[in-house]
Amino acid sequence: MPSPPDSAAIGNALIGHLLADTELAGLMPDGVYRDVARAGKKQYVIVSLVDSVDQATYEGRAIESALYLVKAVALNNAAAVEAAAARIDQLIEDQFWPIAPGLDLMAASRVAPIGTVTELDAVDPDLRWTHRGGRYRLDVAVTYARTLAPLGLARGTDQNERVTP
């Protein structure tokens, strides 16, 4: 029985989609990171999986609905953070990008904005970190075909040769 595609591809594709944008790269030159940026980075985007829910049909997993936190973070540069957050929204809201074979993005939308948050640096209180972004939900159709092997009910080759993707 074939396994469904690796869900990690959804986050990887989102990160790749953000990394590919030159405007965002100009605003956040230190890159896009999953969960935590590398040490010493001062102007970057963070992508974190907040929650994910699968929905199934009789043929197997049908929909993955993943909620991602996507935010721009910068040290002493609130203007860049605000511009980057706006660009992130343009890049995700109602946009489509390829994910992986068997995973098709159905919808991408923000479910909650994250307004500008400022915090003091843990070491030097004269330094200020600014965060801004949003929580985005990606609804992904899982299009792999599970074989209903026990009774020979293979999808795509059903009894009357009807195509069942």
């Binding site: 929905q55 199934a56 049909t57 009789y58 043929e59 049908a62 929909i63 609905s65 159905m106 609804d139 209903l148 026990p150 009774l151 009910l153 999808r155 059903d158 009894q159 009357n160 009807r162 195509v163 069942t164 993707p165």
Partner: protein
């Protein structure tokens, strides 16, 4: 044996062939079905009865199927438009050869919401005799063993 509903299946043949022929195919993108085999009970309570008394009347077969909208799968909506009944087969789990089959009329509904995948559902009602295929009642098995 108790089985999971994860491998359930709904099949439909618009030609209404009985017994089911090769036209009976899986309806994809469904994730739930429900059937009811209720029998009407006629009240025959008489004077001096200490409680109400019923006798069985006619069995009704009806139910619902539901899942996600899939533009590659229009069987449900085509069935709703059909004037003649089709053959419906409901399997609780395809890892065993057990199902209910019969002629049915179908209705279809779709629920499209901004915050999720459009959901479809259908209701069916018998248009002919329904049969239970496979399976053995445990009580009957016990009777056979005793014999």
């Amino acid at each position: 044996m108790i089985k999971t509903g994860r491998y359930g299946l709904v099949k439909w043949d618009p030609t209404g062939a009985i017994p089911p022929a090769v036209g009976l195919v899986a309806v994809i993108s469904l994730n739930k079905w429900k059937a009811s085999f209720k029998t009407d009970k006629l009240d025959v309570t008489c004077f001096q009865d200490v409680n109400r008394v019923y006798i069985p009347g006619m069995k009704d077969v009806s139910g619902t199927v539901s899942g996600f909208w899939n533009s590659d799968e229009l069987a449900l909506f085509e069935a709703a438009d059909a004037e003649a009944p089709g053959t419906l087969e409901l399997s609780p789990n395809t890892t065993e050869a057990f199902s209910w089959t019969g002629l049915a009329y179908m209705d279809a509904d779709i629920d499209c919401s901004v915050d999720g995948a459009p959901a479809v559902s259908g209701t069916f009602m018998a248009a002919g005799p329904w049969t239970q295929n496979g399976g053995t009642l445990l009580a009957r098995r016990a009777e056979n063993k005793a014999a």
